[in-house]
């Protein structure tokens, strides 16, 4: 049985939604961080699916850009989390309430 592109696109949309909802609902900074990665990987899946459907290598090349940039973002993000962890020994977003929007 072969699956057509629509299934992959749907899966990507579901993953993206899970990531977005998770980012808004969860309070642990590390988990929020993983949710962002989930969203980015959903984007990658969409790109690869479209690249296959359109028979265009450009979409797959774009995925490499996303991967590399996501890696750079992870480095910065973990650095920020570590520096906060050192200062207060926990990474719950609810603890961060000095500045009220």
């Amino acid at each position: 049985m072969t699956l057509d592109g629509g299934w992959y696109l749907t899966l990507a949309a579901v993953l993206f939604t899970i990531g977005a909802v998770g980012l808004l609902v969860r309070r642990n900074v590390l988990v929020m961080f993983m949710c962002v990665e989930l969203m980015l990987n959903a984007v990658n899946l969409t790109f690869v699916t479209f690249a296959r459907m359109l028979d265009d290598i450009g979409g797959q090349a774009l995925v490499f850009f996303v991967l590399v940039v996501a890696a750079a973002e992870v480095v910065v993000g973990l650095g920020i989390i570590v520096s906060i962890f050192r200062r207060r020994g926990g990474t719950t977003a609810d603890d961060l309430h000095l500045l009220k929007g």
């Binding site: 969203m39 699916t49 993000g77 000095l98």
Partner: protein, 502 residues
């Protein structure tokens, strides 16, 4: 093996126009240079790094001017990277902004217990991203430029490592920034899927044709605009901005609220005018709602602030709303479209000067009072008349009082809305007008505090302003006053830098 070698000989390297890339190449050389310099100079002479960085920014301006004098539009990599008048104008804006921010921060960073060399390095990296953004006419290039300008900015926001508020500012900015990138990327993936291209010009052709009717394109445009709405802190995606602006070091706040926001708008201009222009019934209403909400909410919340930095943060949210007005009305007819583009560009340029100036004053006053509360500005006129006068100039320019530059910027916004002439556009102009009145209240509240109230603690020793900060103040003040008096020259600049459609 032979086959591989034979294939290697037929490989054609992409045509690179090194003259067109010269500003970026110079800036890259400078930022690598200061990183090395930072390693070799000892702790007492770190200010050298900042000086070299500032000099480097001015040197990068030379190829920009040379390219502008040359005048030819240059396009490379299949239209993905274009150097035209628009690109050159925004590059000059970013370099000038970067230089002023560097002037503002040199004493602030040097006196505080911060890492000085790395600061300049990150600032220049972020600027490099903005320079690339000015030329990006391709989804991949826009994405890479956006990340190149954002990632150093996340770090700069958390520069006061030992301050919990700075940590919080940094984390909020980071999480929301990454969320915005992910949303924007998802939109890009949908647009790529529908049009089969990442080059904006091709996308523009496809979106204007039958492909544009598909719902997937609508969804893609929606996601991309929402992603950038986070970047330019448009309501309802603005909630990170006041917190980040208050917690970050003040020069970084000035940088984020001017340069980073301008970069977001530059990307939006390119996406909307080249990529999505055929579907104005999708983005027109979207920008209309964003503009109306951003102006109104930004101004109403700014009214209640007691802290100058927070007030300026909400004011910058509101200012973003004014810049969104031309986007909302651009699609209605060709005349409105041309005015709208000029209006957005001119507003960006003028907003940069007046907002940087206001933040420079906040920094100068905080050197003495160590506070950013509005009440600490009481009686500023009695001991710092020069600063008081300049702050009044910047505040009233932000409010849009003639004959200062901000007035001219607002006038252009109204003109673009009236050129469009539709009921929706005129309504938006009315909303903008009402907001300009509301804004006058909180800007003049600070002015009243400075001119009329007594000094809170009776301490009337003058404020020492270091030369670099004074230079930043002089530069921004001259721009604000000169543009207000001779606006025609500036409008001409905006007209020259029109993006060519299709």
């Amino acid at each position: 093996m032979h086959a591989v070698l034979a294939a290697a000989q037929t490989l054609k390297a992409p045509d690179l126009d090194y003259f067109a890339l010269a500003p970026e190449i110079v800036l890259t050389a400078v930022l690598v240079g200061i990183l090395l310099l930072d390693v070799f100079v000892d702790e007492t002479r770190k200010y050298l790094v900042t000086q070299v960085a500032g000099l480097g920014l001015l040197v990068s301006l030379v190829p920009v001017v040379a390219l502008a004098a040359n005048g030819a539009d240059r396009s490379m990599l299949g239209g993905a990277y274009v150097v035209d008048n628009f690109a050159l104008l925004v590059k000059a804006l970013f370099l000038a902004t970067g230089y002023v921010v560097l002037l503002m921060s040199s004493d602030y960073i040097g006196e505080g217990d911060y890492y000085e060399g790395e600061y300049s390095f990150l600032l220049l990296s972020s600027l490099l991203g903005m320079m690339v953004m000015g030329s990006s006419r391709d989804l991949i290039t826009i994405f890479v430029a956006l990340e190149l300008l954002s990632i150093p900015a996340y770090l700069l926001a958390g520069w006061r490592k030992r301050d919990l508020r700075s940590n919080e500012a940094c984390l909020k900015y980071y999480l929301l920034g990454v969320l915005a990138s992910a949303v924007m990327l998802y939109g890009m993936s949908l647009i790529f899927g529908a049009t089969g291209s990442t080059v904006l010009r091709t996308i523009g052709r496809e979106v204007g044709g039958s492909v544009g009717e598909e719902p997937i394109v609508t969804l893609g445009i929606f996601f991309i605009v929402v992603g950038f709405a986070f970047k330019v802190s448009a309501v309802p995606f603005h909630f990170w901005a006041p917190d980040t602006y208050e917690g970050a070091p003040t020069p970084v706040t000035a940088f984020l609220s001017v340069a980073s926001k301008a970069a977001g708008f530059v990307a939006l201009l390119q996406l909307v005018y080249i990529g999505f222009f055929g579907r104005e019934e999708v983005w027109g209403p979207l920008f209309w709602v964003l503009a109306a909400l951003t102006m109104t909410v930004g101004n109403l919340v700014a009214l209640r602030q007691t802290n100058v930095v927070r007030m300026l943060a909400y004011s910058s949210v509101a200012q973003a709303g004014y810049i969104l007005v031309p986007f909302a009305v651009a699609g209605s007819n060709p005349a409105a479209n041309a005015t709208a583009q000029t209006a957005a560009l001119v507003y960006l340029l003028i907003y940069a000067a007046m907002n940087l100036g206001a933040f420079a004053i906040v920094m100068a006053v905080a050197r003495k009072t160590r506070s950013a509360e509005i009440s600490s500005y009481g009686g500023l006129f009695t001991y710092a008349p020069g600063l008081t006068l300049l702050m009044s100039v910047f505040l009233f320019s932000l409010a849009g009082i003639p004959p200062l530059a901000g007035w001219f910027a607002k006038l252009y916004i109204f003109e673009s809305a009236l050129d469009a002439g539709t009921a929706a556009a005129v309504t938006l102009a009315v909303v903008a007008g009402l907001n300009a009145v509301i804004a006058l209240f909180y800007y003049s509240a600070v002015a009243k505090e400075m001119w009329m109230r007594p000094v809170p603690d009776g301490d009337t020793t003058p404020i020492p302003v270091p030369p670099a900060l004074a230079a930043a103040l002089a530069f921004t003040a001259i721009v604000v006053v000169a543009v207000g008096v001779y606006p025609q020259a500036f409008a001409r600049l905006g007209d020259l830098a029109q993006l060519t459609l299709r």
